[in-house]
C-alpha cells in the first residue's frame, strides 16, 4: 500500500487528496510526516503542499455539499490523528462519488468514528470557551495559557473576538508552541521566540497589571464561598473539571 506523507497542515492533507485523483492512486493511506515511519515494504510518496490544489479540493467539496460539511471536515481534521485523517479520506471520496448524504449513515463504523471525533472536538472547544483564564498584563494585554488535547485554537478565535472586540488578547498553546493574538478585530497566529515570559507555564508576577492579583484573589474567594460543604462531591467535580485543566484555572491556584 502507498503512503502519502504530508506536512501536517490542512492544505497538505487536501493536496494528498488531489494527488490521489490526479495520479489515480486508489489504495493508499495518508500520514503526517511527524508520525511517518519508513517501512521496508510499501512505498511512501512525500507530498509537497500546494495551496491551489488544496483550494480546488475545498471548492469541490463545497459544490457537492455545504459550508457546514466543510466545517465538519476541518474540525475533525484538527484532531491530529492518523486514523481519523484516513477516515476523512474515505468520506471525502464518498463526497466526490456523489454520496455525500452518507454522512448520516451512523451504521457505518468509519462515518460514526468521524462523528465521534467531531463530538470530541466540540467538547474540547467548549472547554476552552469555559476554562480559558485571561490575566491582565501591565500593557493591558490579556493573556491566557492553554495546552488543549487537540489543536483547537483555529476553532476558538471567533468566540473570543465576538466577546472581547475592544481588548487586545493572546491565547497561547504551550503544547503546540503557537498562539492567537487579537487586536482591533484582527486575529493573527503568533510564535514567540523573544517574549519568553509569555509562554512559561505561569506568567511572572512582575509582568502583571497592578490590579490583576487582587481580582484573582477575589475570584478565588468567590469560588470558595459558593461551595456548599454539606454537598461536597469530588467525583462529580472532577468529571466536570478534569485535573489536566486545573493548571489553567485561577480558582485552583491556591
Amino acid at each position: 500500500m502507498v503512503e502519502l506523507v504530508f506536512d501536517g497542515s490542512y492544505e497538505g492533507f487536501l493536496t494528498c487528496i488531489f494527488e490521489m485523483y490526479i495520479q489515480k492512486i486508489n489504495d493508499c493511506t495518508v500520514v503526517e510526516q511527524d508520525h511517518h515511519q519508513s517501512k521496508i515494504f510499501g512505498e511512501a510518496i512525500i507530498v509537497s503542499t500546494n495551496e491551489q490544489h488544496a483550494e480546488r479540493i475545498i471548492n469541490g467539496i463545497k459544490d457537492k455539499t455545504s459550508k457546514k460539511v466543510l466545517a465538519f471536515i476541518y474540525s475533525v481534521f484538527l484532531q491530529e490523528s492518523t486514523q481519523i485523517h484516513n477516515d476523512l479520506v474515505y468520506f471525502i471520496k464518498m463526497i466526490f462519488d456523489g454520496k455525500a448524504y452518507k454522512i448520516s449513515d451512523f451504521g457505518d463504523s468509519r462515518i460514526l468514528r468521524l462523528h465521534k471525533a467531531k463530538k470530541m472536538m466540540g467538547r474540547e472547544v467548549h472547554r476552552m470557551h469555559a476554562f480559558v483564564r485571561f490575566q491582565q498584563l501591565k500593557d493591558d494585554l490579556y493573556v491566557a495559557i492553554v495546552n488543549p488535547d487537540f489543536n483547537v485554537l483555529p476553532l476558538i478565535g471567533k468566540h473570543f473576538k465576538d466577546r472581547y472586540p475592544t481588548m487586545e488578547w493572546l491565547i497561547y498553546d504551550t503544547k503546540r508552541s503557537y498562539g492567537i493574538f487579537h487586536s482591533e478585530g484582527k486575529i493573527d497566529v503568533v510564535n514567540f521566540e523573544e517574549h519568553i515570559d509569555l509562554y512559561q507555564e505561569k506568567i511572572r508576577h512582575e509582568n502583571l497589571s497592578s490590579d490583576e492579583l487582587s481580582y484573582q484573589k477575589m475570584w478565588q474567594a468567590y469560588f470558595q464561598s459558593v461551595n456548599i460543604k454539606e454537598r461536597n462531591n469530588t467525583k462529580l467535580h472532577e468529571r466536570h473539571v478534569p485535573r489536566r485543566y486545573w493548571t489553567y484555572l485561577v480558582e485552583k491556584w491556591n
Binding site: K102, S104, D105, F106, G107, D108, S109, L112, H126, H129, A130, F131, V132, R133, F134, Q135, Q136, Y142, A144, H159, F160, D162, R163, Y164, P165, T166, M167, D211, S214, Y215, K217, M218, W219, A221, Y222, F223, Q224, S225, V226, N227, I228, K229, E230, R231, N232, N233, T234, K235, L236, H237, R239, H240, V241, L249, V250, E251
Partner: protein, 420 residues
Amino acid sequence: MRLMGKLSVVQKLEILSDAAKYDVSCASSGSKRKNTKNGLGNSSGMGICHSYTQDGRCVSLLKILLTNFCIFDCAYCVTRKSNDIRRTAFTVDEVVDLTINFYKRNYIEGLFLSSGIFKSADYTMERLVRVAKKLRKEHDFNGYIHLKAIPGASDELLYEAGLYADRLSVNIEMPSEKSLKLVAPEKSFKDAMEPMEYLKGAIQESKIERQKFRHAPKVSPGGQSTQLVIGASPENDKHILELSDQLYVEKKLKRVYYSGYVPISDDPRLPIVDKTPVLRENRLYQADWLMRFYKFDVNDIVNDEFPDLDIDIDPKAAHALRNPHLFPVDINKAEYHSILKIPGVGVKSAKKIIAARKFRKLNIEHLKKIGVIWKRAQFFIECGDSKYTVLNASSAIKRQFMLPAAKSTTISSTQLSLFQ
C-alpha cells in the same frame, strides 16, 4: 444583628456570595444577545459553565446578593432577620466593577443578582435595576444578566428589569401555600404568582411586538425561572411535579429548579433533616427533563397509584417497567416519540437511529456504537438480533438488572439462567 466596621470588597464578596449560593439556578442559556461594536460580551444562547464547585455544581454567573439585610424572617433562608450573621451591602459600583473585571478575564458569563429585602420591595428592586442599567448603558455590557424579580415591586420596575435582564426569576421556595405559611408567615403563593403573571404578559407582548417591529425592545428574552425547596415540607413528588407542569404550561416558565433542603437552620418551624435529599432532587430533575424534552405527560411519571418517584431507578426506566404493553419497541420501524421513551436512549441517539436506519437494518452492535446504553435498553428494544428471553423477562427481573451494581446483588442464579 452583627454590624461590622467597614468591610473590604473581598469580605463583602465572601459574605454575599455565601448567602446567594442556596439559589441553585445558574443557567446562562436561553438568551441570544449579540455584542455591539465596542461593547463587552455576548450570550450565545448555549450557556457556558466556567467552573464547577467542589459539590459539582456549575459556576456560570457571578451569583451574589446586593445585600443580606432583610426585613423578612423566612425559616428556610440564611438571610432571615432573626439569624445572627454578619450583614453588609455592596454599592452599585462595586457590583458593576466586579462583573466587568471577572467577565474580561473569562471567569463568568455574567451576573446573577439577588437581594435581601431592605426597606421595601420597590426600594430593593430599584437598586437591582440600577446595577443592570449601569452595566448595559454605561459599560456596553452584553453578557448575561439574571435578576430577581422582587414580589411586591411595581409593574414599571419589573418591566424595566426585563429590558436589561436576560432572565428574571421569582422563587416560590415552598411547594404549597400551607408549607409556605408555616415557614414564612409574611409570604403567600400569590406574592410569587403575581409578578410571574405580569412578566409572562410582558414577555409575550414583546415577542409579538418584535415580530412586527424588528427593533422593539426585548423583555427578559431568556424567560423566567423559579425554585422549589425539596424535603423541607411534606409534599410528595406528584404534588411537586404537577406544580412544575402547571408553571411550565400556565406561566410559560423556562426552568423550574429543585433545591434539596440543606439544613441551614435549627428553626423549630422546619423539620429535622440530617442529610440533604440529593438523590430525590436528582430524580426530580430527571422527571422534569422527561416532561420538557421527552414529551412525557406528568401523569405518566407520577400519579395517584405512584405518587413518589422510585429512588432506586430513574423515572424513565420506572415508566417502562410499569407499562410493559408499550414495549418492546421495534427500532427499525417505530416512530421517533416511541423511541424516545425507551430507557437508555437519549434525544441524540433517537435522532441518529432515525437517520441511520434508512441505510440498513440496525442490530445490537449498531445501537451500542450509536450510544444507546444497552444495559438498560436491551429489555425494551426489538431489532434484528434482540433476544426473546430478555424481552420477555418479568418486570421484576428487569428491574433487578437495571439497579445500580451495589443494589442488584440479590439476583439469584436461577434468575440469571433466564438469560442464557
